[in-house]
Symmetry: C2
Subunit: 383 residues, 2 copies
DNA sequence: ATGCCTACCGGAATCGTTTGCGGTAGATTC
DNA sequence: GAATCTACCGCAAACGATTCCGGTAGGCAT
């Protein structure tokens, strides 16, 4: 018969429905409902248990507060107990549970990064830089790829929010036009730093390279080397870099009183295929350029490949300058002159600013940082 | 005068030392110690509060259990209350606190990745692949760079342990000879999958590319193209890939009854400097090789650069094959023949296996996966 | 002996969830 | 009409830390 779990009697037991698959009983004496403990499931308590501070506390017969204090060089602790705790912690190889710590401190020591993609060397390098700085400060990094899609970018933001990151580094999608998902961070006091693809509508810190200046230097270099009919293969119009580099190109021409011819400017969506198309378009001109400033190195390389195929002599008949200094530019012949961006520095700067913002909290005032570019002169641009 | 916080009287109060900078009192009547509440610190409770389930619960006048259940399509919930909860959650724009969830579930939905470096395109691409499948399964990724240092690798492992990751993806340092930091994962039931630089001493899943087969194909290709005195620049002896590629090299020679000459095999630590040194060593031989199979593309490129400097004709006088198909190999002249590895697939496979291991728990049996390579024939190896 | 001090230690609340199980109202059954 | 059922809901205990503050033992002065 069924015994009441309290009075241990059997006389006043009645059934009382089935809950969650198990028969429930009611003891009229004790006025209590109960179900029988599950006999089937054997003690599967053999889960790999990680040692906690209570384990240490028990082993030493002290309270967990004491253990916690010992582990954090709190003043209210006897050096002897402290030593004992430290020793025991090592013995049981204790690993603090950062999740619990984050929960109670409401600080996760984690920063989030949202980048549009991860394929080129560009973003990985930035992330590496950021990760280095973060790691030194004891921060972890959660990385999200938005895949150039607004929708996943919003999802990414929510993931980071849900993980209670202490700050976020963002390079936007090229299709992002609404910014509520970014503003959500601000609303909760989570600092945000944009890099590269920045958001003008938000009053946060921003890190980018001085594209304008880089482009100016590049084109100026071509002019100084005797090129006069200089073309430009630009990037997609939606991107800020496109405008800035184009502006640098124009201003360099203006500075040396060279005419701006709009047939010498074409826009490329940065795919390999389109790069070749743009190159062809320029080389097919009745009056083809004697030099081209390209929006980035891959485009420059496609142009160079095409020119070589057509037996156009580089740099004698065609000077080429790229942008971004990718490894390939170094080994191609002739070696590609390019504008180097301090890629890892972008990540480092952004992370540094972010950590500062996290530390200062409310008191922090956003800053804009513009990183310098340097022209790397190789063979492709020296007549 | 000082009033007792309980009896509100002043007659039985005596001082009782100073704790944490504040005067403490003792009421002999109530037998109670107390300090005066701090008047100075004004209510700074205006911290940005994120809405929690109790906020929702209060707003709806239900218990937090009900809210939790409503949010998780639990069966014990009335569709109406569920709808109300969902609506209110949206109104207050509730973001679940994953830290708290992880704590109680003892499952963080996070996987860790330890890679030796982050500079080449190789590891970023793997990570991207892994990150993709992880994200699809709702997992976050924490990335650590060991910087090819055993010490930081151990530190990385501890970080991941402390963050209670559910699983780990590892590509070892080349100097790692002790594996306790890896075994710690096993001890706590955290599955580990090695990729690329695997650890033979551990009985876990491993993902790598079929280096042996790739090397075999590469050298066979050289032989078929008429090269007879084929050298090999290998990697550091500590790495498995070094052995496998060397084995492929040897077996290819044997297959075609070509003699193995040990002076034609040199080992390179993969740095640029050492690559040049190795290349020089081979080219300086009394009887220099007529072809070289290199452990990877960067090494092959350094060799090619040196050979070109010495006016050695490639591929006529020297055939070269690399390994890993890096972008630079495509633009160098002559274009580099290489063995392509499915890089992103490594990450995807490893992450897939890891997720499976996490899901199956104890029941999981480790597997070894070997990914196929493909030989990409370009110009540097066709006489 | 009586205050008051210092130097520690422990109890308990808290962070935001999940979850086992007890409780209850109203319907249904015998 | 009593026993039993269904369909919910709420209480409270975890999870593993941190931290506020009360408690206590022993020392020193008066």
């Amino acid at each position: 018969m069924i015994k009441c779990i309290r009075c241990k009697h059997v006389h006043a037991i009645t059934k009382s429905g089935i809950v969650r698959g198990k028969q429930r009983y009611f003891c009229k004496d004790c006025n209590i409902y109960f179900t029988l403990p599950d006999e089937t499931t054997v003690d599967m308590k053999h889960k790999k248990h990680m040692t906690t501070i209570v384990d240490i506390a028990k082993a030493l017969n002290v309270s967990k507060s004491t253990v916690s204090r010992a582990l954090h060089e709190h003043e209210d602790i006897n050096p002897h107990t402290r030593a004992a705790v430290l020793k025991m912690a090592r013995q049981l190889d204790y690993q603090p549970n950062l999740l619990a710590k984050s929960l109670v401190r409401s600080k996760s020591n984690t920063i989030g990064i949202i980048v549009p993609e991860f394929l080129t060397y560009f973003f990985p390098t930035i992330i590496m830089g950021a990760q280095q700085v973060a790691a030194e400060a004891g921060y972890n990094v959660i990385i999200c790829q938005s895949q150039e899609s607004y929708k996943t970018e919003v999802a990414n933001a929510n993931v980071l929010l849900a993980n209670r990151v202490d700050g976020v580094l963002i390079s936007m999608t090229r299709e992002t036009k609404k910014f509520d998902h970014f503003k959500a961070f601000e609303k909760h006091g989570i600092p945000v730093v944009f890099f590269n693809r920045v958001c003008d509508e938000m009053d946060t810190s921003k890190v980018l390279v001085n594209d304008y200046e880089g482009a100016l230097k590049a084109v100026e270099h071509l002019i100084k080397n005797g090129y006069r009919n200089i073309a430009h293969i630009g990037g997609p119009p939606a991107l800020l870099i496109t405008h800035n580099r184009l502006r640098g190109y124009k201003d360099a021409l203006a500075k040396y009183k060279l005419p701006f011819k709009k047939e010498l400017v074409v826009h490329c969506n940065l795919s390999k295929k389109d790069a070749i198309a743009c190159a062809e378009q320029l080389l097919n001109l009745k009056q083809p350029p004697d030099a081209v400033f390209c929006v980035n190195d891959p485009v420059a390389i496609q142009l160079m490949l095409l020119a070589k195929k057509r037996k156009i002599k580089i740099p004698a008949e065609l000077g080429i300058v790229g942008f971004s200094n990718e490894p390939s530019g170094e080994v191609i012949e002739p070696a590609l002159t390019t504008v180097q961006q301090p890629v890892a520095d972008i990540g480092r700067s952004a992370a540094g600013i972010l950590l500062e913002a996290i530390a200062k909290g409310e008191a922090y005032v956003p800053e804009k940082k513009s990183l310098k570019t340097t022209l790397i002169v190789r063979e492709s641009s020296i007549k």
